[in-house]
């Protein structure tokens, strides 16, 4: 005989163990793993992209007859990859056996460390990249001529009274020094902004989770 769905429902839940509530002892466990896995994936993709770019830049710079630019940029990317490799090891070393709260706090410490190192590195890297671009083009080879020398020659013709130091226009040295100074001063901020641009979603989620968990613990 066909039973009504109402009676199947009622009788089924009368049986012992039909309604056992799971224990709430490991809240946020899955979420914590998801957020760190997501960050790890993004970070790895970012590293691969930088490595790929470094490998492309080098031969392209030689083909374009701007070898100094290529070599200097390659060195910059190699530094970034080496530093990020160290952080990747640290990220993998975060103990997943800890409680969710400890796990997320360890990850938070990792992010703080990453932001701090990135800030310091950016103060050096942004001016370095600027110098690499200037030197790269200055000592490049465009149409068989050295662009830096060509540029100075044209300037001397247009501005014969211009002051030169070691064959370079003084005003140019001042301008470049000023830009390098500004980049060194604000490089940290630019670097942090750059990291936030890519990982702000994960960082915000992490802060929310830790906030929730702290409230849960109180």
């Amino acid at each position: 005989m066909e039973k009504s769905i109402e009676s199947i429902w009622k009788e089924g839940f009368l049986k012992k163990d039909a309604l056992v509530a799971p224990k709430l002892n490991n809240l946020y466990n899955q979420k914590s793993k998801h957020i760190i896995d997501k960050f790890q994936r993004m970070y790895q993709i970012n590293r691969i992209a930088i490595a790929a770019f470094a490998l492309i830049v080098l031969p392209v710079s030689f083909i374009s007859k701007l070898p100094y630019l290529g070599v200097l940029m390659f060195i910059a990317f190699a530094i970034i990859i080496a530093v990020s490799g160290r952080f990747m090891k640290k990220l993998k070393a975060i103990n997943t056996g800890d409680t969710s709260y400890q796990y997320l706090n360890s990850f938070n410490e990792f992010i703080k460390d990453l932001l701090s190192v990135n800030e310091k590195l950016s103060r050096f890297l942004y001016p370095y990249i600027f110098i690499a671009i200037i030197l790269g083009f200055w000592f490049g080879d465009i149409g068989g001529n050295i662009p830096g020398k060509e540029f100075v020659s044209k300037l001397i013709v247009d501005y014969p009274d211009m002051q030169l130091v070691l064959g370079l226009p003084l005003i140019g040295i001042f301008g470049a020094t000023f830009i390098i100074f500004i980049l060194a001063l604000f490089g940290g901020i630019i670097g942090t902004w750059d990291i936030n641009l890519v990982y702000s979603g994960v960082i915000k989620k992490l802060e929310e989770l830790i906030g929730d968990m702290e409230e849960l613990r109180n």
């Binding site: 066909e2 039973k3 769905i5 109402e6 199947i8 429902w9 009788e11 089924g12 839940f13 049986k15 012992k16 163990d17 039909a18 309604l19 056992v20 509530a21 799971p22 709430l24 490991n26 809240l27 946020y28 899955q30 929730d212 849960l216």
Partner: protein, 163 residues
């Protein structure tokens, strides 16, 4: 979440939360995740409860919304990463009740649309059409028609299989 809050405000409604979470999950692990998430969301959103409805109605609505959101997220991630065989594996590992008829009913309920699952669960919990309408955010007439249609579908799924 304090033990008091869980005991006084969630545990009395744990049965419906469990029933709803079971209807939207296929594995024990997912079920526990959904259950925990519902409890967390109740606790986190408790200040948003305006007493315009009963606490139970609010808990049901929130449970359904959380399950639907998690299901949507899961579907998206499956679309991105999982193969069909993985989904099949999950279904095979699914939780089983002691009562075989209840298992069959749950299997049939899982074949309904996501909203219809919520409607029939509330109906089976003997909620009035008005309450269900409040939770689903529609009118009672719509719910009455919908329930009639869902029951016919379930009967067809249950006894069509047997026959």
């Amino acid at each position: 979440m304090s033990r008091d809050f869980y005991t006084s405000s969630i545990l009395p409604y744990a049965a419906i939360i469990i029933k709803i979470c079971r209807a939207y999950t296929n594995t024990q692990e997912d079920f526990e995740d959904y259950y925990q998430e519902v409890c967390l969301q109740i606790w986190k959103s408790r200040d948003n409860f305006r007493e315009q409805s009963k606490w139970s109605t609010w808990v049901y609505r929130l449970s359904l919304n959380v399950c639907l959101t998690l299901l949507k997220k899961k579907k998206n991630s499956h679309q991105q990463f999982a193969s069909d065989s993985l989904i099949q594996e999950e279904i095979e590992e699914g939780h089983q009740f002691v009562d075989e008829s209840l298992n069959q009913l749950y299997d049939a309920i899982k074949q309904l649309s996501e909203i219809d699952r919520g409607v029939i669960l509330l109906y089976l919990e003997e909620k009035s059409y008005q309450e269900i309408a409040d939770i689903i955010d529609t009118n009672p007439n719509n719910i009455a028609v919908r329930i009639k249609r869902i029951k016919e579908r379930l009967k067809k799924l249950l006894y069509g299989k047997v026959n």
